[in-house]
């Protein structure tokens, strides 16, 4: 349904992505592609796959940014996928009802049988989370792996989004952000998780954790007295020490 659910969902399932640990390996991107190319949004068509302009549908793409100048800055790897916004204009602009936000868990999905491929939802998404499948003529997007997380044919431990399962550094977390006691909510609270483009008021469910700007640990410089120590004197100091083989 195009209109957003009347009541805020009881559960708000989403991802928390830790920009402090993401090393930019693209595992989340290719696992996502791999899972979803055969999932409810299948296929994720690739066009010209071996030619000059390879182009395919992906639900998750990893960017690299530099923030700050010179050595004082940081390089940050930045995975980008649907944020399953509370205030999802991608849903409300949809003329057909193909785009909808699930009342029970807040997941934003596309019903491809209804989609006319007008692309308006992709214009309405500030985050570039919607991808048009040219060959299929319909809009597609991250499903939050809805066909994994509730999949009773999978073991309990596997009922997580493919990108979260894959991530080798453990930079991706999945859970209920409406539940203040959930691991993800606690992580967001502890680490100052933030929204992307809060000024647009889409109220994303997914949160990003900022890179930690660790100050140097307070160290005792071993050579605080520096050159005052005469190297030759060291030997005299050492000669009396007894150690055991």
């Amino acid at each position: 349904m195009t209109s957003l659910p009347d009541q805020p969902a009881q559960r708000r399932l989403g991802l928390v992505i830790d920009l402090d640990t993401c090393v930019g390996c693209h595992a989340c991107a290719t696992s996502c592609k791999e899972w979803n190319m055969g999932g409810v949004a299948a296929p994720l068509t690739d066009l010209d796959p071996y030619g000059a302009k390879p182009d395919g549908v992906w639900f998750n793409r990893v960017h690299g940014f530099e923030a700050g100048e010179g050595g004082a800055g940081r390089t940050v790897h930045f995975p980008r996928s649907c944020l399953h916004c509370e205030n999802a204009a991608c849903v409300t602009v949809c003329p057909t009802g193909a785009s909808y936000k699930r009342a029970e868990d807040g997941i934003v999905l596309v019903n491809e049988d209804l989609c006319i491929g007008c692309k308006l939802c992709s214009w309405a998404c500030p985050y570039g989370a919607r991808e048009f499948d040219e060959a299929e003529g319909v809009m597609k997007k991250c499903t939050l792996c809805v066909d994994r997380i509730y999949n009773e044919t999978l073991a309990e431990a596997d009922r997580k989004p493919a990108c979260v399962m894959a991530c080798p550094t453990g930079a991706r977390h999945f859970g209920d952000l409406a539940d203040e006691g959930s691991d993800v909510s606690r992580l967001v609270a502890a680490r100052g998780g933030f929204d992307l483009m809060p000024e647009l008021d889409y109220r994303p469910t997914n949160k990003y954790l900022p890179p930690r700007m660790n100050a140097s640990p307070a160290a005792v410089a071993p050579t605080a007295s520096g050159e005052a120590i005469r190297p030759e004197s060291k030997f005299l100091q050492w000669v009396d020490r007894l150690f055991s083989r």
Binding site: V23, M165, F235
Partner: protein
Amino acid sequence: MAQHRIDLSSRVSDEVKTTTCYMCACRCGIKVHLRDGALRYIEGNPDHPVNRGVICGKGASGLMKQFSPAKLRKPLLRVGERGESRFREIEWDEALGIAAEWLGRIRASDPKRLAFFTGRDQSQALTGWWAQMFGTPNYAAHGGFCSVNMAAAGLYSIGGSFWEFGEPDFEHTRYFMMFGVAEDHASNPIKIGIGKLKGRGARFVSVNPVRTGYSAVADEWVGIRPGTDGLFVLSLIRELLLADQVDFAYLARYTNAPWLVIQDEGAAGHGLFARDEAGRPLLWDAALGELADAMRPETKPALVGHYRLADGRRAVPVFQLLAERYLSPDYAPEKVAPIIGIPAETVRRIAGELAEAAFRGEIRIEQPWTDWAGRRHDHMIGRPVSFHAMRGISAHSNGFHTCRAIHLLQMLLGSVDVPGGFRFRPPFPRPIPPAIKPAGPVAPGQSLKGPPLGFVQAPADLLVDEAGEALRIDKAYSWEAPLAAHGLMHMVIANAHAGDPYPIDTLMMFMANMSWNSSMNVPGTIEMLTAKDPASGEYRIPRIIYSDAFFSEMVAYADLVLPDTTYLERHDCISLLDRPISDADGPADAIRQPIVRPDRDVRPFQDVLLDLGARLGLPGMVDGEGRSKYPGGLADYMVNHERKPGLGMLAGFRGAGGQAKGLGAPNPHQIEAYVANGCFWHDELPHEARYYKHANRRYLDYAVAMGFIDRAEPVVLQLYSEPLQTFRLAAEGHGERQPPARHRARIRTFFDPLPIWYPPFEEQDSNAGEFPLHAITQRPMIMYHSWDSQNAWQRQIISSNRIYLARTLGERLGIADDDWIRITSRQGSVRAQAKLMEGVNPDTIWTWNAIGKRAGAWNLAADAPEATKGFLLNHLIPEFQSGDGAAAPLSNSDPVTGQAAWYDLKVRIEKCLPEEAGTTDPLFAPLAPPPGLPERAGRIDFGRRFRPGSK
């Protein structure tokens, strides 16, 4: 309208098979989901010791490797000129017949005229053994152009090494320093480890000219100038020595710090260890005031001082020499700062942080253990400082010593195989150096006396002739590269082309893209591969046999192509005799099992090799009647072959009942046992054996029982390397075997028994001033060398590469983002598109490795971005040192190990003319696809068949 109904519980697969990933050499465990016989999904195996369930970006793209239109389909015989890529499809029988005929002639006349080189490190346990049985010493795998500096420096210093033979104690470390690593072979373990480390809030410092990948998530990025890490580390060592922040107890107990070194300048014994009659090293017992056997427990060794030996000669402890050297003001932070490009305060602070973490941060694990001498300790002391280093260190001509310097630092901090430090992965540590020596050439029809690769301990072990000239085609173990533990793969083509030291007949290669991204001076290499002898009209390298699974650039240069299977189609053996996948908590090995049947007329190369061996009647491969001993191919071999009684390719599930581990009789059901166990075997060390492995009785006994080492003797870590000194003595005119005159000065300089630093050779070149910038490459995490350009998913992520440079540099030269620039070295020049960035050393430019492709290769369209915009720095890397006019050029390698010095490259850059912009240059002629290669798909949507609700 009711809410959209979707099937949330559709069945993922009807079958799940386990195997081992080979989208890279990390070798993670995977679960492959199949539906209706088709590949549906590949995920990490949560039980597997390597990846614990995670998977990387490459591994998750495995489906598209199977889907690739670049897979070779049938054996090919060249019909056109070499390099024209014109072939005729032939049957396997004919192909094997041709190969057997060529090789048979060689073996009967001069076996060393077969050069057999394998690029990737797949199955060296088999390929090396095959070469040995064939009788050619001209065998090596990828280590020589990869990281032999790392391996050799480690194995000659601590009995293990970084690379994948050890790992930081990610669970306990508090301060982790990483040198020159973009990805490394332990791809997922490092990522898992960094995740853990960051989760615990441990400090992570990355020393790297470029701030991407791991360096990006480091708490501190140290943007060092390439090739200067050795100096940086030695300066840290000086600071720690000055401040008394070294672990004397550890040094006295576990290292050769107290061993006495003879001081007898000019004499044959100078610089060697003082030894007793039994040859055991001596130390000075300071409590008793007498010489003592350094291997005896409970002595009170002196670490400094000057002592007299029984014969009157003077001797000093290793530590005295070490401290004398590194306390020198030459290593003061202020002195090194302008060279390394790091402020002196930073060097000093990092030294302080290391000391702080190692000593004030000392940890204790309440785990009793027994040392080699039988002494019981009720806990384990940890120095939670750990290091990891890889090709940023090793791929320089000073890499061996730099890597030794890092090991020295580890030893001084007492952080080798202690909680929180660097940990060995069994079967390491090994005796220093390992006891295997390289075997030299033999008579026609004979097998080598031992494996072709090994560890020399003294000049006597070199493979040189009377005149001191090389016996191997790559000149490994000659005076040019004495400690070449892995061979010099990068020199094979150039040397074979030059007939130096002798011409060869057949070059056989496996999984090595040597006409492209794994050669230096690519344009020159292509010429050498196609060059003919004007007199005979024959190719300078007469015959080339090549096995690849895909239409790589190298295929075009083969005379006979033996198409391999993919990793999902064959058995493989990830053996402890090879490059193991163990972790620090215990040894592990694994197999691959066929998941899908090949849809082409291809055969696993390892089966082919055994078949060829049988056709040639090679010892070990045929029985008494001359029949193949392993008709079942590799699967047969890995179960039934024994290196020595009880020791086979796989350590798990041995013995008739499958209960034995390490040593045991072959088990006919071993493969089934592996499959039932997820295709791997992992043994958990008892907790008391998990640290101090070099001196831990429980571990040493275990290692003997497993067949890793011969005797349960402690491995004494070598700060001072006596084997190096033996070479230096030879250069000074001592001993039976001395270097030819032209090598004397080099050997004397570079075989310093304590780590030294010198500028990489390219910087010492007289024309260095013309090329002010360093140019290096990095592994992109999503691509494995050249393998993945055929992969429809991975190539969407990166199909062309930029040249990255510091914004300040770009602004100075008037270069902006997207500008095309020309990069020029003394070897040649290449055109590339620029990208400016902040996080890069200002004197350094860099790019992603192996993205550039030859047009037409890999069954990509000729105008694919890989070919039109992608480029290789390899075109610019000289394979020889300039030598400043010297007659016989030396390879562009480390003088100790022969490690290829990829990252010594010096260049200058300038903006291109507007008419040059748009494509890279040089552009090589497009390669035509060999016969039988399928049409490229214009669209991939095969996942549709899996869509829930569709059939």
